[in-house]
């Protein structure tokens, strides 16, 4: 699986080029009938089959930053792209633009914070990126307004089969789609690598309109809060219990036939799965469901601890079970 390579790429929503180029390169060697790149940068891969038209989708984009101002002292102000909590930003590293200019997100030292400020959470609008420039001119020579920035975070394997990386949401889905494309299926398969999920599941709207599928399965990285200090009712998914099957979330109430089929094939093939225990969050399934005259959708997801942070953590077992479930689902159509 190409997760290490995929998580190393920069793909802030609207700037998915690195991820798209990588995926297009990998697809070249695979057996496909048609590869389309559309106006928003979605990749749609068609593998023809006689069965129903099935779309599987994962998004290429990740949360990150856009440089919005270069200060007179040569620091960079930024806008966040997608949901980033300011709590994960202080004392972290970023890489800016195509040239990957290194920068750090610092903050006034704790010694200099007065009274309540020590306990306050950082405000995103007060934060800035330090690239070490000694002047505005020097910074302008390296960075332009509108340049994207991503977390600078290595892929690390640790503990009992754990992976830490940035952008596991949703490169884990992209990695699974690339594995899916290695095999043949009876259904008329459309594999979509979508853009701009993190800013409102936007790429999926036009990808779904183009495909006009009978069924769609979205493969995601999802919230996981299975450890201290989350209380029992706050634990929405768990590591090492297999992929999460969503019944409903903020974007869609999943199709009963698709959910039933997922559970059915999982049971028959002895694939471990769990049900998502919250209705919060949203995925491309919302956009796909309401495309054309309506599409029967489902979501399966890999639980990611510390999602949308520079250090998200997933379990290899969940990833491989998620791939098994996706394949079994697609092979169930004949």
């Amino acid at each position: 699986m190409l997760l290490k390579e995929l998580t190393a790429l920069a793909g802030v929503s609207g700037c998915e080029d690195e991820v798209r180029d990588f995926i297009l390169e990998k697809i070249k060697d695979l057996k496909t009938d048609e590869v389309i790149c559309d106006s928003m940068g979605n990749i749609i891969v068609h593998k023809k089959g006689k069965g129903p038209k099935v779309m599987v989708a994962a998004h290429m984009d990740e949360v990150g930053f856009l440089i919005s101002q270069i200060t007179n002292e040569g620091y960079l102000k930024f806008k966040t792209v997608g949901g980033i909590d300011s709590a994960v930003l202080v004392s972290k590293r970023v890489l800016i633009g195509k040239d990957k200019i290194p920068g750090v997100l610092g903050m006034k030292a704790v010694h200099l914070q007065q009274g309540q400020a020590r306990n306050n959470k950082a405000n995103i609008k007060d934060l800035y990126i330090d690239i070490g420039a000694k002047s505005k001119e020097e910074a302008e020579g390296k960075v332009k307004l509108g340049d994207f920035a991503v977390f600078d975070s290595d892929y690390v394997e640790f503990g009992h089969g754990k992976i830490k990386a940035k952008a596991l949401d949703d490169r884990v889905g992209c990695a699974i789609l690339l594995e899916i494309l290695k095999e043949d299926y009876d259904c008329d398969l459309y594999v979509a690598f979508t853009t701009q999920e993190e800013v409102g599941t936007r790429g999926a709207i036009i990808a779904a309109n183009r495909v006009n599928a009978d069924f769609a399965l979205v493969i995601e990285g999802t919230t996981c809060s299975d450890i201290h200090p989350a209380k029992e009712h706050q634990k929405v998914s768990f590591h090492d219990r297999g992929p999460v099957i969503t019944i409903m979330d903020g974007s869609a109430i999943m199709d009963k036939e698709v959910v039933g089929r997922l559970m059915d094939v999982a049971k028959r093939q002895d694939i471990k799965y769990q049900l998502k225990r919250t209705t919060a969050g949203g995925t491309d399934a919302g956009s796909i469901q309401r495309s054309n005259g309506g599409v029967k959708v489902g979501v399966i997801a890999v639980p990611c601890r510390y999602i949308h942070s520079p250090s998200s953590v997933a379990s290899k077992f969940d990833i491989s079970e998620c791939l098994r479930l996706a394949r079994a689902f697609l092979k169930s159509f004949n």
Partner: protein, 344 residues
């Protein structure tokens, strides 16, 4: 070795206060290139001796601390995650999603937990307490218990990042940058006349109360001590009482430092055209100089600081030329002053 390479080498080894063994070994080997002898005392301070060969030469202690802030394991939770207690002044704001190394039976990688969006209370602005921050080492409780004990130390993991204009960010420039400046001073002194016996010292346990310097100053009983530490660098959110990067070392004037020798240092910096800045401190400088000054019957102290942005984070940022200028200033000072300058 160029300054970035030296700083990177000094930033790599871990050395939580009280557990400085790893950095100690690296410092011993670096010091040995310049010293007639290198020894380590009972608390773990590393002392390199550079004799001038003259009988009755006065003793000068040049020191920087090699310990760093971090945490210790306080509890292994039922879910296999760890709770920790701080060692030294940690800003809780840097912890969510921070990468750490747990020094258990082996070095274990870990991530400090960060709340997922559905658990974030947007109306609550408080940073969380250490009790709410679980360190995820990716093991079950059973597995974790085989590898980790309560009391095991935890350090921040982070690489070395070169920035523009000779700036660089790292985990513990505080105070490995000071150690680097000591080594650079020793390098410059090789080519300069010096009438003092020099003790190059890397001290322990500064972050928990200037402890290593206290016993070492007592033991060495030098005629003069030069402490090198870091001071707050100027950033957009911290201008008062901070010092811009790249404008040279900061010399402290105040009750903690010996006024006559400090004036001499300033004169030499001016004469030699070495950039410097002045910090006026009305009392406790919070550095080892505070402990050294009152050791034995009293030791004249000089304090030189390297401006550092984001102190006590994993992205402590400095200018490498400030480190070089600090080393050069120390060496020229020791070259220019006479034994009789050290008096009241």
């Amino acid at each position: 070795m160029d300054t970035n390479a030296l700083l990177e080498k000094l930033n790599e080894p871990y050395g939580l206060s009280g557990y400085e063994e790893e950095i100690q070994k690296v410092v011993e080997s670096l010091f040995s290139e310049y010293c007639a002898g290198v020894s380590t005392d009972k608390l773990g301070n590393v002392i390199g001796f550079i004799p001038c060969g003259k009988e009755g030469a006065k003793k000068v202690m040049i020191e920087a601390h090699m310990d760093e802030i971090g945490m210790v394991v306080a509890k292994i939770n039922d879910d296999g995650t760890l709770l920790a207690s701080p060692i030294g002044g940690i800003d809780l704001k840097i912890l969510p999603a921070a990468e750490v190394i747990v020094h258990g039976k082996e070095k274990l990688y870990g991530v400090v937990g960060a709340k997922p969006p559905h658990l974030i209370d947007k109306n609550k602005s408080e940073a969380r307490s250490m009790d709410d921050l679980a360190i995820d080492i990716g093991f079950s409780k059973q597995e974790a218990e085989k590898l980790v004990n309560v009391g095991d130390r935890i350090t921040f993991k982070s690489g070395y990042t070169k920035l523009l204009s000779n700036n660089a960010a790292s985990r513990c420039h505080d105070d490995r940058a000071g150690i680097a400046s000591l080594i650079l001073a020793a390098e410059y002194l090789k080519r300069l006349k010096c009438d003092f016996d020099i003790y190059l010292c890397a001290t322990v346990q500064e972050e928990v109360g200037l402890r290593g310097a206290k016993t070492l100053a007592y033991k060495l009983n030098p005629d003069l001590a030069i402490s090198v530490d870091v001071c707050h660098g100027t950033t957009p959110d911290a201008s008062d009482g901070t010092f811009p990067l790249g404008k040279g070392p900061v010399i402290t004037i105040g009750p903690n430092t010996h006024r006559k020798l400090t004036n001499k240092l300033i004169d030499i910096a001016k004469a030699e055209k070495i950039d410097f800045q002045i910090d006026v401190d009305g009392g406790n400088t919070g550095t080892n100089a505070w402990a050294i000054q009152v050791a034995r019957e009293g030791i004249p102290c000089i304090l030189i600081s390297i401006p550092l942005r984001y102190m006590h984070t994993t992205v402590e940022t400095l200018n490498t030329q400030d480190v070089e200028k600090t080393g050069k200033l120390i060496s020229l000072f020791l070259n220019k002053i006479e034994g009789e300058d050290i008096c009241f």
